[in-house]
């Protein structure tokens, strides 16, 4: 029996009832990886020797005692690799310390055993930008799993992991969750410590769970959330028991429907149909649907592709071949060493974003681009604040399209940027968002998953998890 097909909540009940052991669960994950990872390519590395020792020692009294959790390969765990799917860190790099989320998972009794694939340094939405390996969508192997947390989504969807963590800078948890048919949560900015998450765009990045169920998402968030003296942007706000109000349903709630997220242009009609069906069912359950306009949606992508590359160009200056990573030294001095190491170490998408970010921050252009985009960001944030005065949460699609084929439009990066249109504003505004599986669409012989997105006010993860759980109940009754 593959125990990796089971939710955290169920495995915990089985563990506490003595029906299974942490060793059995970890071995199950290992067997599933041996059977499937070559095809799916979700993991970059795993270490079961150490994991079995940790499983034997797991304290079942703790909230995640005996549960194996996969981590995106940009979250540091002491003595584990952290390649960020980049040639720059491939090979010998071993983390010297634990990210705060890794510390909290270990303290909660979880077993950390494997590292999942991503777009290099989390830059992308297909996992095709991984310099190390292609991850395939478990529902259709010729299609992308989404990204950048494509590995984390794929290993949960392919029953090779019980649950995983990813990171979301512009949709990188929610979009792969949508494409792979799993639950993905981007917490509010400041809810989860970023200490030990390899920085891409520091004002947008958040770590969050990819799981089989909304309840598992709630369980994991409870463990990883909360203030951290090592991350000054992490809020010291109270962390509620997110499982407590999960079953309360949507009756009496006001759910906003942003009309810009249903524009005719660009939204696949089959995706729209699935989401509209879901909205109808929410209404039948007693939720009130409220028409909302977010006019600034049209400039969110442009705003993001100024701010995120700007922050990335600064953050990635640390990869210079001095303290870690792979050095290329042609003997012509330190500047040539920097240039050569970065040229060999970074893939094309990372180079594009570093150049774009350097340009928009350069003398004479920073006012025109960077400062203007920061002001646009304020307008986007204000629109959400106004919307949340009228409604409890917003509902709509995660991605305008179904997962596309691997290699499609490889020469046109702008195309993939545009597919972030429904997810990107949440990062700019700092609000929380959840992707929950919402049926499938038959296309060319494959049943491709669609994701329902639920957006909530800053720090209102309890609200979106409740709506997500309500949707699961409605969906599974059929």
């Amino acid at each position: 029996m593959n125990l990796a097909t089971t939710s955290i909540a169920t495995l915990r009940r089985m563990l506490l009832a003595g029906e299974t052991t942490p060793r059995e669960i970890v071995e199950s994950v290992g067997t599933a990886i041996s059977a499937q990872n070559e095809t799916i390519g979700g993991y970059l590395s795993s270490d079961f020797e150490k994991a079995l020792v940790d499983a034997e020692a797991a304290d079942l009294a703790r909230p995640l005692g005996g549960i194996p959790i996969a981590l995106k390969d940009n979250i540091n765990v002491e003595d584990h690799p952290c390649s960020c799917a980049s040639r720059f860190l491939e090979g010998g790099y071993l983390s010297p310390y634990d990210a705060t989320v890794s510390t909290r998972l270990k303290e909660a009794g979880a077993v950390l055993y494997g590292r999942t694939n991503l777009d290099e340094f989390a830059m992308g939405s297909s996992t095709e930008n991984s310099a190390l390996q292609q991850t395939r969508n478990p529902h259709a192997h010729d299609r992308i799993p989404g990204g950048s947390s494509g590995g984390s989504a794929a290993v949960v969807a392919a029953d090779m992991a019980v649950a995983a963590l990813g990171s979301d800078t512009g949709g990188s948890i929610r979009q792969p969750a949508s494409h792979c048919g799993v639950v993905g949560l981007k917490p509010s900015y400041g809810r989860v410590s970023r200490y030990g998450l390899v920085a891409f765009a520091s004002s947008l990045d958040q770590i969050g769970p990819l799981t089989r169920t909304v309840e598992d998402s709630a369980l994991l968030l409870r463990v990883i959330a909360g203030g951290d003296k090592r991350d000054s942007t992490c809020l010291d706000a109270e962390v509620p028991d997110y499982t407590a109000g999960l079953q309360r349903g949507v009756s009496g709630m006001k759910l906003g429907v942003p009309r810009e997220y249903f524009a005719d242009e660009g939204l696949d009609p089959a995706v729209r149909a699935r989401i509209e069906e879901a909205l109808g069912k929410f209404e039948a359950e007693g939720a009130e649907l409220v028409d909302i306009s977010l006019p600034s949606t049209s400039f969110a992508v442009a705003t993001y592709y100024i701010l995120a590359p700007a922050e990335a160009s600064s953050n990635l200056s640390r990869y210079d071949g001095v303290r870690y990573g792979n050095r290329v030294d042609n003997g012509e001095g330190v500047i040539a060493m920097y240039r050569g190491s970065r040229a060999r170490g970074f893939g094309p998408e990372v180079k594009r974003r570093i150049i774009l970010g350097t340009y928009v921050l350069s003398s004479g252009y920073s006012g025109k681009y960077y400062l203007r985009a920061q002001k646009a960001r304020t307008l986007i944030q204000q629109e959400y604040q106004q919307a949340f005065q009228r409604v409890d949460a917003l509902v709509g699609p995660v991605s305008p399209t179904l997962p596309r084929r691997i290699g499609e439009f490889a020469d046109n990066p702008l195309q993939d940027y545009l597919a972030d249109i429904y997810t990107i504003s949440a990062n700019l505004a700092g609000i929380c968002g959840l992707s929950v599986p919402c049926g499938t669409v038959e296309r060319e012989g494959s049943a491709l998953p669609v994701g329902l997105q639920i957006l909530g006010p800053h720090l209102a993860e309890d609200v979106i998890l409740r709506v997500g759980r309500a949707w699961e109940i409605i969906r599974d009754e059929e």
Partner: protein, 128 residues
């Protein structure tokens, strides 16, 4: 106002997505700037990045398209709007100035490509 058509795709079918700001948007005005220009080779130098000729040509084309797209923001009226640097309501963080555990020398040096005498070694920095 002219549209800004951007090629998109639905399941391989190309379509044109108009992401020009809606004329009904309360803050849209006439575009305030000329089309942006970028010298990719020069900017890559600022970023300490060697590019091949092929990369330079490819990025020149792709980044020009991306810049033309992000330049749609220049038609947005932002007069009087405060910039947002990051979205959490935190300004300053203070803590007691106490010593705490940090990485050991061994942990720090373990990942360095070249070390000598318990230090990181780099190529020549200053010409003699």
């Amino acid at each position: 106002m002219p549209g800004f058509p951007v090629p998109g795709s639905i399941n391989g079918e190309l379509y044109t997505l108009n992401l020009e700001l809606s004329p009904e948007h309360p803050r849209v005005s006439e575009r305030q700037s000329a089309a942006p220009e970028i010298d990719v080779g020069y900017v890559a130098g600022l970023a300490r990045l060697d590019l091949t000729e092929e990369e330079t040509a490819q990025f020149q084309k792709q980044l020009s398209e991306i810049l033309a797209f992000v330049d749609t923001l220049s038609s947005l009226e932002v007069e009087g709007v405060e910039p947002t640097a990051h979205p959490a309501p935190i300004l300053d963080c203070f803590r007691e100035d106490e010593t705490d555990k940090s990485l050991t020398r061994e942990q720090f040096l373990r990942n360095a490509p070249d070390t000598a005498l318990d230090q990181v070694r780099v190529p020549k920095v200053v010409d003699s």
